[in-house]
Symmetry: C2
Subunit: 760 residues, 2 copies
Amino acid sequence: MSNRQSIYEIKDLSLNNEDLILNETVFHNANGYIGVRSNFEEGYPEGFDSIRGSYINGFYDIAQMKQAEKLYGFVEEKQTMLNVVDSQSIYLFLDDEPFNMFEGTVMESSRWLNMSEGYTARRVVWRSPKGKEVEIIIKRMTSFYQLSLFTIEYSVKALNFEGNITFKSNHIGEVMNYCNPEDPRVAGESFRHLFPHSAKIIEDASFIVTHTSKSGLAVCTGVKNCLSKTGVMDVCIEEHKAICTIESNIVCNETITLTKYTVFSDSIREQDCEQKAMEEMDCALSLSLEEHYKKQREYLTDYWNQTSLEIEGDDELSLAVRYNLYQLIQSVGKDEHSNIAAKGLSGEGYEGHFFWDTEMYIQPFFTLTNPKIAKNLIEYRYSILEEARENARIMGHKKGALYPWRTINGKECSGYFPAGTAQYHINGDIAYSIVQYYLATKDMDFIAGKAGEIIFETARLWIDVGNYVNDEFHINGVTGPDEYTCMVNNNYYTNSSAKNHLNWAAKFYHLLDEFNLLKPVADKIDLSQSEIEEFKMAAEKMFLPYDEKLKINPQDDSFLQKKMWDIKNTPKEKFPLLLNYHPLHLYRYQVCKQADTVLAHFIFEDDEKIETIRNSFLYYEKVTTHDSSLSTCIYSIVASKLGMEEKAYDYFGDSAKLDLFNTHHNTKDGIHTANMGGNYMAVVYGFAGLRLKESGLFLSPSLPKKWSGYQFKVTFEQSQIKIEVTEDMCIVTLVSGDEKVIHVYGREYHLKDTISIERI
Amino acid sequence: MSNRQSIYEIKDLSLNNEDLILNETVFHNANGYIGVRSNFEEGYPEGFDSIRGSYINGFYDIAQMKQAEKLYGFVEEKQTMLNVVDSQSIYLFLDDEPFNMFEGTVMESSRWLNMSEGYTARRVVWRSPKGKEVEIIIKRMTSFYQLSLFTIEYSVKALNFEGNITFKSNHIGEVMNYCNPEDPRVAGESFRHLFPHSAKIIEDASFIVTHTSKSGLAVCTGVKNCLSKTGVMDVCIEEHKAICTIESNIVCNETITLTKYTVFSDSIREQDCEQKAMEEMDCALSLSLEEHYKKQREYLTDYWNQTSLEIEGDDELSLAVRYNLYQLIQSVGKDEHSNIAAKGLSGEGYEGHFFWDTEMYIQPFFTLTNPKIAKNLIEYRYSILEEARENARIMGHKKGALYPWRTINGKECSGYFPAGTAQYHINGDIAYSIVQYYLATKDMDFIAGKAGEIIFETARLWIDVGNYVNDEFHINGVTGPDEYTCMVNNNYYTNSSAKNHLNWAAKFYHLLDEFNLLKPVADKIDLSQSEIEEFKMAAEKMFLPYDEKLKINPQDDSFLQKKMWDIKNTPKEKFPLLLNYHPLHLYRYQVCKQADTVLAHFIFEDDEKIETIRNSFLYYEKVTTHDSSLSTCIYSIVASKLGMEEKAYDYFGDSAKLDLFNTHHNTKDGIHTANMGGNYMAVVYGFAGLRLKESGLFLSPSLPKKWSGYQFKVTFEQSQIKIEVTEDMCIVTLVSGDEKVIHVYGREYHLKDTISIERI
């Protein structure tokens, strides 16, 4: 990887509040377990808006979610991801002058993210009001090697003076979440969720234990400050806050560095989280910071090597794509207690909830590059299967499991069910992701255990929810991915997804039987051959809407009977529509928030004729606002499939730059992880035309005009394969593992070492 | 009216909490302006549940109604009817012994409602723990003559002792509403809505002014206690409470009576409500209690005379019907500031909100018996037309007005829009009620003014909400009356109602033009001939779903494609279904809470062939749970029409006894006013087959087998007409007014004095 592509830097830092709060997200540090927003250590002036937060993946409290009108089964409690601590605060004093970019003179300033090394940094050359000049460099890291660890390396160089230097470094246990009651996407209330439990100082390290108000969870954070030269250190505890003051002196051209270690531990994962935090602190201090940086670099070298996605010929886009992939590894949970939140660990938007985003937009990337993480994500779903069964009962189903639309601990957190719980396709999405994982790994043992149990239990739900009409299997009263059209009959996406799900449930049943692995799972959930026959029958008879006149698949039974929304003449400020129109009004129009039928045409492309896919694409393009960040990447993939190269590229570009260029104007609330994963898909599934099918691995690479080439690696059945696409050629190389049969442009190839194929 | 039919009495009073709280409703006093629940003056023992309340029609505070997920246009504030005062409290002491039915010995006890005289009473013969025996008779009245007045006449007769007698009579200004957060129908929160403003004593009368927390309203109540013999009276104010203590002595067989006058005044209707309360108190005291009783009797004599509904041959049912009509006159607002709440003024269920219940179930009774009140009800709708316009904008409509589903002051109070605001048929309902009023009165001036403005503005909405598909006018995304099937396309009831509405808007336009009355209203709302042409076209092209196979009108586009709910095998305790199943689950079934298409077939009977109506009736009968109290009366009417006499009678009986026999187990929260009106309709529209059409007044009387006869009066075009139905005959008499042409069993008659027609 070239260095150029691995660093994102901004110079002459804007001190505008909007930019500051945006950069808190853009430069946040995370490792899948913890995430820390990039707040200035010294804070902003009074009145500035800031989301100052540190989060643990899967750590939550219960919040009330009162329903305006309470009806049976309505969700009235939700989980909410907590801001658990503030250990970012460091105040620097030069003699009596506090460092603060809003006073004195900022002579030089920059911030950067180094994606090869895995840290963020801020550099400021500053002159104090009284004329003292310093160079300050602050490096921050959340360690991939030691997941509990967050470090701040705070270096100060005196440029034109000597004198006293003081650091005041805080460790604050009583923190609150951010809220903006005006925006449904961050509408969590600023309610007191954390209560002080204990605060101790051991060997100058502070350990603060805090309890949640309702979920019965505890978190412990430990903080230790170390100065590069001798100084006078005082650590004291005031209420639920530890304050460490270190005084020293500095001479001209001398550099003094404060290293602040924070470790996190929580009661979901640990019996005694305080004890664990102390162990983690010992572990952190057992290596030098340089050694920690080295481990970080090694981890990321591996990571980038597994992915190896490189684009030649468009630097900005190339950087954006790399940024997106970096965020994915920052965000994804590394154990079964967590998953990947809609905003990763970068902010409080969507309250840290896990959605279908994981399975449909993010997991594909890990399935192809890091199957172990993909498996983790499925194991998380298994860990909440019991809650999914309960959810199905609440929704009136006698059998099966229905995954919640949004959740942390498995219980539904969707307050408006028509655009939430009614999205039954989540069952099909999870099944699809398991099938993809299976196709990539052929991990039959997993299917025989947890994965199979999920597949079968969730398949049962389709039988309970659907019914036969004129010998066709209908699914009524569900919401597809497009949230501008809720509670419809025979949503094409949902029915396709259910069909695929039921077919695969039957296939897995027979496969397990063949491998003599069936009995344990079948006995456990009392699954019989006759139920499998029901699955097959429903899949075979599944009704997939088709309009003879337009020769497209209508999004649902009544979609085409509605008025067309006039997207072109809708004023810009009225987007996203959901913030400007009553949902009932939107429901009456042909208008889509995002790819719905088009998504089905991507993932189940063999179900329809190419002409139907093309006609549908052209039809839905006209009625889709792409108000969801999950939309353009899918349009890009299908445009690629249809040979619409320019469209494919434009949609891809819109998608790729979303967070780095804040094109949806809400990155301050956190990154859009699904969009980032979708962006990867747009390259690999879109431009490169990769598909995982029962008949193997398929490629059909095209090259966007603006690029001179691109390459990436995938792991397929334990072999690593590299795909390079140039202007003329497609070169496929077996990097490691067994020989494979692959398909390029529809032709079969036996991959031993390298195959070079002329591009079509 | 026979006395037997005018008194509802219960003896040997149950002191069971459930019965007590139920009888608070059953024996409440109201007059359309104020309502007072029948709580025991002395209260119940600690721990007993009681809804102790006094209400003013249309008087409300604003309460927060937080949405679990806030989306554009979601309602977050509601109006809630307030319990405004407790002036019921009277404590009686015989020497030092307090009267209390839960101690000592109740030797005799009864309660009754006298519907001719207009009062309720309680009589108790009681022996105190120390052996003093008294007969206590307490009469309560809310005056129809002086609407602000509520009286309690509290008589005590010493049966076996002499001694001191003390009354402690309270007037409490700080009161709260009742709530039961578990039941959506009374889920208003017990929140402090009223704040003390002032409390004064003038000539031993206390006047307490209280302000609401958010709506900016004020209420003043005045209380005066008068003893029938000299005693020592002390009136003092403690906080926001006036306490009047009167001591006297009593001898054996002597009767002493305390008369307590309460007057109500509010700032919605009066500039200075305290001043007004004082005037009302003067007015109340200017007549003796006997004179007040006389005025009450006169009012009710008139009322019963206008109605004259009498049933021979079924005493229980006859009483129930009379009870229902009594409650209607108790409940209906007598000015444009109020309407008739779902629970009248008898309790806090549905928070005092006004629904379509008024227009479709209650107003028909007044239209036929008291057109002035019917006009008042329409004027109330006019008073909130501006809010209805605003509501239409919120819902995305550029033109027209959409009435709120539930409201007091005109702003929507529906927290769950799919079963609330989405019921656009309310516009058609209001239009229908105006048409009926017009047909009964031919009051063209009213159509030229307020009523026309409503009709035209609400008709505009249909054009904005609907769209043409294959040359048919479709209305998508609305909810019909059946709340178990929400947000559907082409709900038959809604489309029929819209068709009728649009047709009548066009008719009124031409009629007004003919009478040279068009210009003012057309100019005011900028109504053009071309818009009227649009109305006519949409009405003509209105799509009314019809199923060729079943030969019925499907409830909506997709109703027949759903699974059938197995009503027979649903356990009893699972009804009403809305309290036991998630709405999304219900929406997937063919199951109706109430008459929907069947209601359309009653009110728009000429739109369909009788066979379609019959087939539909038989079909919907099987899938209707009648969980709504608005259902069986409609089934009764249509059964009558179809000649299904037994069914008609059974449905009627179920409906008639609802509140008096608490068949829905929730009368404690208040009476079901719509059911009561519907009950009247079942007799007059059902058994007697009355219809108001453009071509005149139609009758087609049948006689239920169990009855020997029935009669009623209606007012038609200012003439009063009496209809008597006996076993063999139908006798129609012109009681007063001009001669009329009427239709009986399809034949035209010229009504001069009396016509006797053989029953078919």
